[in-house]
Amino acid sequence: MSALRQLRNSLFAGLKPVSGPTGNYLHAHQSLSVVFGMALTATLLPFIILLPPFSGFATQPDWVQGFASAGIFVLLALGLNVVVGLAGLLDLGYAAFFAIGAYSYAYGASPFSGVHLPFWPLLLVGALVAAVFGLLLGAPTLRLRGDYLAIVTLGFGEIVPVVFRNANTYTNGINGIGGMYRPALPVYGTFLGLDPVPYYITVVALVTVAMILLYRIQDSRLGRAWMAIREDELAAASMGINTVTTKLLAFAIGASTAGLAGVFYASKVTIISPDSFLFAVSFTILAMVVLGGMGNVWGVAAGAFVVYEIQSEFLKQLNGFVATLGLPAVNIGFLTIDISKVDFLQYQFLLYGLALVGMMLLRPEGLFPSRRRQAELHDADDADAANQELVEA
């Protein structure tokens, strides 16, 4: 029995982190369990969808195409999790870094710039450029209190698309940049637009690497410093943590993950425009992180994947399904509800909004919580209000 538990613990250390006040003793095995877990998930997914009811929704290549896109959002959510989940900083302009990564690729590999650099090094370049912008934004603003930071990042997230839209000469304005060169591998050759498999494998590899790195950072001195700041910035500072540098690193690492996702996104869709990076994208990623469970790497990844699939597949299916039921229209006085004509895709953001409010009120730690975060968030429930106030003041 105990051997079984040991096996489970070492294989699924990531799924059920054993973290307490003294830290996580299992992280030596975590990299291995991430590789194993991701390989298993990535291998099974394309076959699970051959089973009903999933098989009825879309063909296998379409599903895999969707999974490759879902991977982009998993990457984005993992990056935002560093900023929001670990360091406790609310970044509402996260899509800006995604845009910066995507435009980096457009400058490095498209007819628009006349340059054709290979995809793989550009991944790093995109991550680096986004990180630099993260530092540029963070350096002056991270001294601000948390809620001001949220507004500043929101403003930044608005400015970046405006700049890309208006600086016509450099960005081709509202039309965006198209005809991006696709990635290539030495033996395999150039990726084809219609074949989702190489993109799928690439994104799985990227997510795996990102998860391993993020787990290792999370369990390092830096990760512990983030959590200390999140829990009590004043106490963290008096323990000798340089709060500005630490927060800056969270910002830069979060931004670089978005940059990475941006490069991959640009290489996959091959056309980008400023309108693909509006606030709705930042909001969607935030909803993924909150739903998944702020601070838990696997939880956030799962949250992002599930939310993406719900928005891209299930709402569409729901439309068709409800239409076939042929429910009669209901008439309540001045209001007519005809459920068979409802377009559920329209309700996507309403659902996110309800989910955010509901989660915050009922289960702030998310669906797959990080144990430490859970303890923190429920602290307030137990302590009486007056005490809490005194602690804050």
Partner: protein, 308 residues
């Protein structure tokens, strides 16, 4: 720029500024009392414009200007009272169901909830009235006006500016002279101590939300009268600009919010005049970032709030 254009643009700036100031007051009041950036406030303004659209166009059946002055005044008073009342109640409901439980939760929680509420409001309106831009009846003839020197000044601008200043003076009197106003100020200063002195915190905060949201509702009616259209996404931009105004004036300070609103109005109008219309948002947000970095207390703010 000749004198005529300059005068006209100043009037335009004051009108735009008056709308921003009305919205900014709600941000500043809520922030002053519970230190929450109410992201949903811009959308409360948006919903207000739809409530007034429904009342005037769908319920009362108006399509254009009303020429009978007595009828015009009556309808306007009714429209403002109705929209402000409805939005006040909406604001109180938002506070009651979305924010009250999180008053002692970690900071991140109410902020995320506020963003959620913002999206809920936007989408409820989108589902109710569709995603298209809708025309609102402009009860006051927008062409009518008078010459001030060589500048043509529209009556509607005079109306909007007067209304906003009137509401601001009313708010100022309420906050400084009444018992409830005193309760609001003491709650903002120190919630604990106020409670010990017998102030009903929950009622006070609810009243604050009512007034802030009612002012946004008034701005919503103005949106319809002045621009003649509304749209389910106008709240986002307007909210961000009004928030910038509140921060610029010194958040928590009602006079500052008014001053900030007019300043943003001037910046936006004169940026457009100089030919940078499509950059005006970027300019406003750059100002926001600069103010937050170099003078986080704003123009009139005195409180240096830095709590862990």
């Amino acid at each position: 720029m000749d004198v005529g254009t300059l005068t006209q643009q100043i009037v335009n700036a004051l009108t735009l500024g008056a709308i921003y100031a009305l919205i900014a007051l709600g941000y500043t009041m809520v922030y002053g009392i519970i230190e929450l950036i109410n992201f949903a406030h811009g959308d409360v303004f948006m919903v207000g414009s739809f409530v007034s659209l429904w009342l005037l166009a769908d319920f009362l059946g108006f399509r254009g200007p009303i020429n009978n002055p007595l009828q015009l005044v009556g309808i306007l008073v009714f429209a403002f009272v109705f929209s402000m009342g409805v939005m006040g109640v909406v604001g109180v409901l938002i506070e009651r169901f979305a924010y009250r439980r999180l008053r002692n939760a970690p900071r991140l929680a109410p902020l995320i909830t506020a963003i959620g509420v913002s999206f809920i409001l936007q989408n409820v309106i989108q589902i109710w009235r569709g995603p298209a831009q809708l025309n609102s009846p402009q009860l006051i003839d927008v062409q009518a006006g008078f010459y001030l020197g060589s500048a043509f000044v529209h009556w509607i601008s005079i109306f909007v500016i007067t209304l906003a200043i009137g509401l601001m003076i009313g708010l100022q009197l309420f906050v400084s002279k009444t018992r409830m106003g005193r309760a609001m100020r003491s709650t903002a200063l120190d919630r604990e101590a106020a409670q010990l002195m017998g102030v009903d915190i929950n009622t006070t905060i609810a009243v604050t939300f009512f007034i802030g949201s009612a002012l946004a509702g008034a701005a919503g009616v103005v949106q319809g009268l002045y621009y003649g259209y509304t749209f389910f996404q106008i709240g986002f931009q307007a909210g961000l600009k009004a928030f910038t105004a509140a921060v610029l004036g010194g958040i928590g300070n009602t006079t500052g919010a008014a001053l900030g609103g007019f300043t943003i109005g001037f910046i936006e109008v004169f940026a457009s005049q100089a030919g940078y219309t499509s950059w005006s948002e970027a300019i406003v947000f750059t100002i926001l970032i600069l103010v937050l970095v170099f003078r986080p207390t704003g123009l009139l703010g005195q409180r240096v709030v830095e709590r862990a």
